[in-house]
């Protein structure tokens, strides 16, 4: 389940910022990619919400800015 979620997260980030999937890993963070900006961050969060079918609190939107943080959040909810 965790591995499956990781793959989905990487695909969402890759689609949103237009970066190749093999360049994104568990340790990737927004600052690693100049294309992962604040708008990209909100777009990723909206896509993650659709994936988990649950609303992400506004206060978490800018916090979840690494693949690991997103994965941990999904696995907790």
């Amino acid at each position: 389940m965790k591995k499956e979620n990781l793959g989905k997260i990487i695909k969402i980030i890759s689609d949103t910022i237009g970066e190749q999937e093999n360049k994104i890993g568990i340790n990737s963070k927004s600052t690693d990619f100049f294309k992962w900006d604040s708008l990209g961050q909100v777009t990723i969060m909206v896509k993650i919400e659709k994936m988990i079918k649950k609303k992400i609190p506004t206060s978490k939107i800018s916090e979840l800015n690494t693949v690991k943080k997103i994965l941990d959040y999904i696995n907790k909810t």
Binding site: G18, D37, L39, V42, E49, K50, P57, T58, S59
Partner: protein, 438 residues
């Protein structure tokens, strides 16, 4: 009453400061609320109850939202947001709406000529963010006194920055923040002074050129138009960032740290970067509370739809700045700039030369601000046309506007401050670490 008015600086502010530190802890909030109301009422006593009405209604809405845990919770949130938009819309956009109806249908509806209540634009956005926080159960320890203080705290009441409830109330209630902190007083006064200098010595002097160019366009030359537009771009930055510096400095006197709202925006290397540096709290509000929900409403979330959402958000943001088509075009130009910037970033995986991208961004932003300042779309178009008429470039000597030495100095200082020097926030961090002020 403005922050740089003598009555504010030498009567209101010292009295409020004195009262705040002399009063017992339990009376301080009430004292700040009353002070905030007096500050607001100094604008227009007759219309000052409007802010009280907004506070009371939104407090009731927030209590309803917090106390519910069913599907009605969302209905109450939506009703509350609609109420706030209509409340702002009635005062700010009624005449804009009527004038457009009259133009489209050749009707003759009389404008209402309502005065626009001070601060309502900022209070509306701040309140919407607060109501969303209530909906997400993020608000702790809410009561009327805390909520009223959050809205009416006078340093950020009129023009932001847009602050969050928890971020503010936690600072007000922090035990050490109730003490007289010498370091904060020193830093606060320095930042307040910088804000006054930005406003009085730079923005107000640049406005002399701007007013000449944007008042009578008939005899303007190529150089006049470029000078006028550049002066306005610098003027609005020094006006607004000067105001924010004054607000930040004043809040610091009360041991309150306001969020950063500007980060050397003219050093931006693209429109995306510009909005990460210009009016930062507004950008955060727009992306979180407007762009996100709008994007969610699309069936497919793809790049094309995200760009459509961006354009819509900036059209709304443009209109939020003022009830005129010039502001809508200002928003549209920024939306368009963001789309081009995002598309470029997506297609080409390259970073342009920093100087080139900085210059390109500044020139583009300068063109957008012409619509922000112009009285009409026609006037803005006329000025832009003149600026692009490079055939008249050989008439460089032809400057019809009056330029005093003070204005020239203000212009030179603008360039140095905007493109070379570090910003106020950097100074605050440096001063905070300075042991001499402890």
């Amino acid at each position: 009453m403005l922050f740089h008015d003598k009555i504010f600086l030498f009567a209101y502010l010292p009295l409020v400061l004195l009262g705040f530190f002399l009063l017992k802890d339990k009376y301080r909030f009430i004292f700040l609320i009353i002070s905030g109301y007096i500050f607001y009422a100094a604008w227009n006593l007759k219309f000052s109850p409007l802010i009280i009405f907004s506070i009371l209604i939104n407090y009731l809405f927030s209590k309803k939202i917090i106390n519910r845990d069913d599907k009605d919770k969302k209905t109450i949130l939506i009703s509350a947001i609609i109420f706030n938009i209509l409340y702002l819309g009635f005062f700010k956009y009624s005449d804009f709406f009527i004038n457009n109806i009259n133009f489209l249908f050749s009707s003759n509806i009389k404008p209402l000529n309502l005065p626009f209540p001070l601060a309502l634009s900022f209070v509306t956005f701040q309140t919407i963010a607060f109501l969303c926080d209530c909906y997400e159960n993020n608000i702790k320890n809410l009561n009327l006194k805390r909520y009223a203080l959050f809205i009416i705290f006078f340093p950020q009441l009129i023009a932001g920055p847009i602050v969050r409830y928890n971020q503010m109330i936690s600072q007000f209630e922090e035990g050490k923040n109730l003490n007289f902190i010498f370091k904060n007083i020193c830093i606060g006064l320095i930042i307040l002074s910088i804000g006054i200098i930005k406003k009085v010595f730079i923005a107000d002097n640049l406005s002399i050129v701007t007013d000449q160019v944007f008042t009578d366009t008939t005899s303007l030359s190529f150089v006049d138009c470029w000078l006028g537009s550049l002066c306005f771009t610098f003027q609005i930055y020094f006006d607004f960032s000067g105001y924010i510096d004054m607000a930040t400095g004043i809040a610091l006197l009360f041991n309150i740290r306001l969020p950063q709202n500007f980060d050397s925006p003219f050093k931006a290397t693209g429109i995306i970067n510009f909005w990460q540096r210009w009016h930062i709290t507004l950008t955060h509000f727009l992306t979180t509370y407007l762009y996100g929900p709008l994007l969610k409403s699309f069936q497919n979330i793809n790049f094309f739809n995200s760009m459509i959402a961006t354009l819509i958000v900036f059209l709304i943001a443009g209109l939020w700045h003022g009830p005129s088509w010039t502001y809508v075009i200002f928003g549209a130009m920024h939306g368009f700039g963001l789309i081009v910037n995002h598309t470029f970033k997506r297609i080409f995986d390259i970073k342009l030369n920093q100087f080139f991208s900085q210059a390109l961004t500044f020139v583009y932003v300068n063109f957008t601000f012409i619509f922000f300042r112009a009285d009409s779309v026609e006037q803005a178009s006329f000025i832009i046309k003149k600026m692009l008429d490079f055939r008249s470039i050989n008439k460089l000597e032809y400057i019809s506007i009056n330029l005093s030495i003070v204005v020239i100095m203000a212009f030179i200082f603008s360039i140095i401050i905007c493109f070379v020097l570090k910003n106020t926030n950097w100074l605050i961090s440096k001063l905070s670490l300075n042991k001499l002020l402890d």
